[in-house]
């Protein structure tokens, strides 16, 4: 085996893994926060992510069609579309909760789950329909920015794009902001109180419906930001884009310990790194027997192993008790 090559591409692999991992982490937060307050796996979250991606591409395309795109600073444009994606996705998540989950709050747990799957299909087809009518196409390509695609070269075999760094920095900033919100603010305390014991939180003066709506708003906004960053990083988006990253982010949330916010971040990073390592090293380490296309099998095998030995996930040691 060529250890020199292994080492030479390592920084590149780590950066690819971090880009992927931070994106999973952002999406995973939406799953884990909603699970925390409702014990519901919000299968529509992957579509919230996808809608965020569409908001970003729509804004860029309309700026482009007016000929304004070249005149705006790309970083300003980026901040604009991330914010817009967050707002739309966050509000959409709130609407989904209000319409599809809240009326089912007291129903058996399987019922809202089915409702979530229904919402997921609905959103996919709603986006497909509107984009088909509006643009006559629903596979859309993000207009590219030269600055963001520029590659930074370090040494002979390592180079990465500016946008990878942007994605990592933006995700990191949002994760830090969220951690602050949850740990240090009144809203964050209320979210944790509702997650731990809903009736008691209510009896202590916390408006539970409002806190649940705000949880969806925050989780949806994170998912929307991830959708925009996904589009910027990988360029294309379609109404079914959400499925694979959604499933993987959900996996990341479980890996970290579902309901546990730092766990979702760690789980996302671990899964992203595993995937990047597998993609780059599998064929090297197996003498070409397994190629990069086996990355998911590798990553998920590790995941199954971790869950066999730590069924509550990496950071899931806290057992939640409900009276």
């Amino acid at each position: 085996m060529d250890w020199q090559l292994v080492l030479a591409i390592l920084p590149q692999v780590v950066i690819d893994g971090l880009v992927l991992g931070f994106m999973y982490a952002l999406i995973a937060l939406g799953y884990t926060m909603v699970y925390g307050v409702l014990e519901l796996i919000n299968f529509a979250h992957s579509e919230i992510f996808m809608v965020g991606g569409f908001v970003g591409v729509e804004i860029l395309l309309s700026l482009q069609s007016h000929g304004w795109l070249g005149r705006i600073n790309p970083f300003v444009a980026l901040i604009l579309i991330v914010l817009a994606g967050m707002v739309v996705a966050g509000l959409l998540a709130v609407a989904v909760e209000r319409i599809a989950y809240r009326p089912l709050r007291s129903a058996p747990r399987l019922i809202p789950l089915i409702s979530a799957i229904g919402v997921s299909f609905f959103l996919q087809d709603a986006v497909r329909l509107t984009e088909s009518l509006w643009r006559n196409a629903f596979y859309l390509t993000y207009p590219s920015f030269a600055v963001l695609n520029r590659r930074i070269e370090l040494g002979q075999s390592i180079d990465f794009s500016v946008k990878s760094i942007v994605v990592i920095a933006a995700s990191l900033a949002m994760l830090v902001a969220l951690q602050f919100l949850v740990k240090r603010t009144r809203l964050g305390r209320a979210i944790r109180a509702v997650a731990e014991d809903q009736p008691t939180a209510s009896l202590m003066g916390v408006n539970v419906n409002r806190i649940i709506a705000l949880t969806f708003l925050i989780g949806g906004a994170m998912g929307g930001a991830a959708g925009v960053l996904f589009g910027v990083q990988y360029n294309t988006i379609n109404p079914f884009t959400g499925f694979i990253p959604g499933i993987k982010a959900f996996t990341a949330a479980v890996l970290g310990g579902i309901g546990n916010i730092p766990g979702a971040m760690v789980g996302g990073l671990v899964l992203g790194l595993l995937e990047a390592f597998a993609a780059s090293y599998l064929s090297l380490f197996t003498g070409g027997a397994f190629g990069a296309e086996y990355k998911d099998i590798f990553a998920f095998s590790i995941l199954i192993l971790i869950l066999i030995f730590r069924p509550r996930g990496l950071l899931g040691e806290v057992v939640r008790e409900r009276a």
Partner: protein, 264 residues
């Protein structure tokens, strides 16, 4: 005569075929300590759940400070000044002592998200005032210095006191305590009773207790209400209730009702 803070008028609550509360009338005067007693399953905790909006009664009215609260959510009722503790401790176990009390103070801190992020003067003022008040509460219950301990790591007695501090965090007018001395020694119960009297004096609080410890009930209560099978069977000063034949019967059974008062 002092103001009536909490009132139930003809409250009936059913669970399927079981009548948990049957046409219960009850009044609580401000500045007093009252107790609700009765055998297990008499409907005491159900009455608490109706007072706090956790259950809606099938019929009847509940008034806080003369205002009907039927149909209000528990958080709204807490904002009106009614807060409770639980028989089986229900702290937010994975939050710190300070955070538990801050959740209790949720309705009393009028802060917007941006105030917190931007550390506006409003933030400094409100949070500062809240932390001052909570510091005094923690002094009062003897948990000062344990602010950053996780609730689940506290010894049992401290958990009980933290529940009271958390309820007091909401700055209630009426504090409902569901068996606060459960699991306490006689000495600890006595200390708790002194503490409750101090609360009434210092904070101008009104207290309603559910209690099984008769010595505590008789010693501390201005008025005692007795429930049995969801019905109010007696009410009055402790000494009167203690001699009431129906009460003795409810506690000891019909056959033994002939002799003497209810003793601890």
């Amino acid at each position: 005569m002092s103001e009536i803070l909490l009132e139930a008028r003809g409250v009936t609550k059913r669970f399927g075929g079981l009548v948990a509360l049957n046409d219960v009338n009850f009044t609580l005067e401000s500045g007093s300590i009252a107790s609700i007693i009765g055998p297990n399953g008499a409907g005491k905790t159900t009455l608490f759940n109706v007072f706090t909006g956790f259950y809606a009664p099938e019929s009847g009215e509940v008034l806080v400070g003369g205002r009907s609260i039927v149909g209000l959510t528990p958080d709204r009722i807490t904002a009106l000044g009614v807060c409770r503790t639980f028989q089986n401790i229900r702290l937010f176990k994975n939050m710190t002592v300070l955070e538990n009390v801050l959740v209790g103070a949720h309705t009393r801190v009028a802060l917007r998200f941006w105030d917190v992020v931007a550390r506006t003067p409003a933030f400094a003022r409100e949070e500062g005032a809240a932390l001052d008040r909570i510091g005094r509460l923690l002094d009062l219950v003897g948990l000062r210095g344990k602010e950053n301990d996780l609730a689940r790591n506290l010894p049992y007695g401290d958990q009980r006191r933290l529940e009271i501090a958390r309820a007091l965090g909401s700055d209630p007018r009426v504090l409902l305590l569901d068996e606060p001395t459960a699991g306490m020694t006689q000495g600890e119960s006595r200390a708790l009773m002194d503490f409750l009297r101090r609360l009434i004096r210092d904070l101008g609080l009104t207290i309603l207790l559910i209690e099984h410890n008769m010595r505590v009930v008789m010693e501390v209560s201005d008025r005692v209400t007795v429930l049995d099978y969801g019905e109010k069977i007696a009410e009055g000063r402790a000494a009167e209730v203690q001699r009431n034949a129906r009460v003795i019967e409810a506690y000891l059974g019909r056959g033994r009702a002939a002799g003497g008062a209810v003793t601890p």
